[in-house]
């Protein structure tokens, strides 16, 4: 008997529209295969039957998570799929988050969750432990490579075949399973140690997770004397974008003197791709609230608004770049004696 697969896509891949449609309420197209679902379903082969495609706007999912999840749960209840396939989301943060949410709903309902993401997608950690997430490239240009990976996972999981992260290119779930091996533990440990001492290759049986947490910084003791800086990943720049900040996958950050401004309205706008810029371009304080912070300075509630604001574009920007930007900006702020930072993200 063939296994039933339900697909989940965002508004873009679902063919509804771009960023202007990101608030699109979830809908279910029974029996229909839309966009990437078509390719994945074909790649998964004959053993499966598609029940249809769920489409939901990324912003809708982000801001109405419970409602979106309830909708997905209802469709699962009605359609009784065996597998839910969400994405691939590549490195799209909001889409990854939505796919993770869809996977969570499926998992709770006893449906096998499959997705596809880039390793830096923030959605990954929200579903990696209970979903089969194919390791994709960071951009949709690599769709043609993602499709067979997801199709393969679906086919094997549907058939009840064993899959491994190595052979099937998915992110390890971090579960420990009981397996039978030739040698007992003590011998394997000594073999590993000897290999290590001899500079030979060895493979650990239990990779340790790497934690990189930063301790919360101590609070500002006296806000009325504090210098507060504004930083944003919302792509806010002076009109005309004089330093040509990228609209996606930022390679740089910029800083601008705002000491002569009471508000950003009229003089600044956003170059950030991936969200509708209309509201921000009417008044950039909607993304970086200089006007309100200036007000607090005037009222003596804070000491001073730092003379420069720092800006970059968050969408599609590599984590490695973000780390570097943060280090460089933080160094400047530290040296300038800034006491606290408000960082806005879109």
């Amino acid at each position: 008997m063939s296994k039933k697969v339900l697909y989940y896509l965002n508004q873009f891949f679902g063919g509804i529209g771009g960023e202007d449609m990101a608030d699109f309420e979830p809908e279910f197209r029974a029996g229909e295969l839309v966009g990437p679902a078509m390719g994945i379903n074909a790649a998964a082969g004959d053993g499966i039957e598609a029940v249809g495609t769920l489409i939901c706007g990324d912003n809708f999912f982000g801001t109405h998570e419970e409602e979106a999840k309830a909708f997905i749960a209802k469709v699962i209840e009605e359609q009784q799929p065996d597998i839910l396939c969400a994405g691939p989301a590549f490195n799209a943060g909001r889409y990854g988050f939505a796919c993770a949410g869809a996977c969570a709903v499926a998992n709770e309902a006893g449906v096998i969750p499959v997705s596809g993401m880039y390793e830096e997608n923030p959605g990954l950690e929200h579903c990696q432990s209970f979903s089969w997430v194919a390791a994709t490239a960071n951009a949709a240009a690599q769709m043609r490579k993602a499709i067979p990976l997801m199709g393969n996972l679906i086919a094997k999981l549907a058939a009840g075949e064993e899959v491994t992260p190595e052979d099937d290119s998915y992110f390890a779930q971090g579960r420990r399973e009981t397996v039978l091996v030739e040698d007992r533990g003590s011998k394997r440990a000594v073999d590993m140690l000897l290999a290590r001492l001899n500079d030979e290759e060895f493979v650990t049986e239990l990779p340790m997770p790497s934690f990189d947490e930063v301790e919360p910084a101590p609070p500002i003791a006296d806000l009325t004397k504090a210098t507060i800086a504004l930083v944003t990943s919302g792509g806010i720049v002076p009109n005309g974008n004089p330093d040509r900040l990228q609209s996606a996958s930022a390679q740089q950050w910029n800083k601008y003197d705002i000491s002569g401004y009471d508000e950003l309205k009229g003089d600044f706008y956003t170059v950030h791709g991936g969200f509708d810029p209309v509201y921000c371009n009417e008044d950039a304080d909607r993304v970086l609230p200089l006007d309100a912070l200036r007000e607090m300075e005037k009222e003596g509630k804070i000491g001073k608004v730092y003379d420069y604001m720092y800006t970059t574009t968050g969408t599609g920007t590599a984590v490695a770049n973000s780390i570097q930007f943060g280090e460089e900006i933080g160094k400047e702020l530290k040296e300038a004696g800034v006491d606290g930072v408000l960082l806005t993200s879109t």
């Binding site: 919360p216 500002i220 919302g234 509201y279 909607r286 609230p289 943060g326 006491d339 408000l342």
Partner: protein
């Protein structure tokens, strides 16, 4: 970026709409905002009300900078 700036010992508030992402990237002080295209505004409100909303949000963010925390903390939206 939030995490690297905080590493210098400077308190930082991440004002973001999808706070789940915010905490998963390691932000410690988080203030939920209005919506992705206008975190600190709301074009559906009349000007005066929008201004008031932003003012109160920024005051809460600044107060969060003055608040002692032990772990990741999401302040009141």
């Amino acid at each position: 970026m939030v995490k690297e700036i905080e590493r210098y010992g400077i308190p930082i508030v991440h004002m973001a709409t999808i706070t789940t992402i915010s905490s998963s990237v390691g932000a410690r002080r988080i203030l939920p905002t209005v919506a992705i295209p206008y975190p600190t505004g709301n074009p559906n409100l009349p000007d005066a009300e929008e201004h008031e909303l932003r003012q109160s949000m920024v005051e809460r963010a600044v107060n969060a900078l003055g608040t002692e925390i032990e772990d990741t903390t999401e302040f009141e939206a």
